[in-house]
Symmetry: C2
Subunit: 89 residues, 2 copies
Amino acid sequence: MDVDAIGYTAAALTTISFFPQAIKTLRLDDTRSISLSMYGLFTTGVAIWGVFGCLTGNGPLIVANGLTFIPAAFVLQKKIRHRLLRGER
Amino acid sequence: MDVDAIGYTAAALTTISFFPQAIKTLRLDDTRSISLSMYGLFTTGVAIWGVFGCLTGNGPLIVANGLTFIPAAFVLQKKIRHRLLRGER
């Protein structure tokens, strides 16, 4: 297995990993054990990675972080809603 | 702000973001709204990023993923325990 393939495997795993969480959050409408700080920091970080990818013309970085941003932002907005509407911590 | 600083900011945010989740999981001992698939895929991906960093001699990649692996693996093992011991989905 050449080294690049290892990198692409890691990128694929960390990118797709947020989709099962978004699906679970959508299905259960429960975010009580999820950390708002985590998703706030992570979603912001992923967005900045995307900006960095644009500034450096790095396609894979733009695609991977663009893909990850979608489910991460979905979970973040659900967590914020539950805090505002239900007062959940 | 030079471009590298933007990259390091993104790396710092995505790296530290998993610590608040690990702390919340430790405090509440509740992982019910957390996806096992997410943490399984993500923790594996982060580990492979670390291997990739070693193979390519990329220090920041090793440090960032090594740091992220700790809280991610902690949450993963808690989720697995809760599924095995409590039968939680």
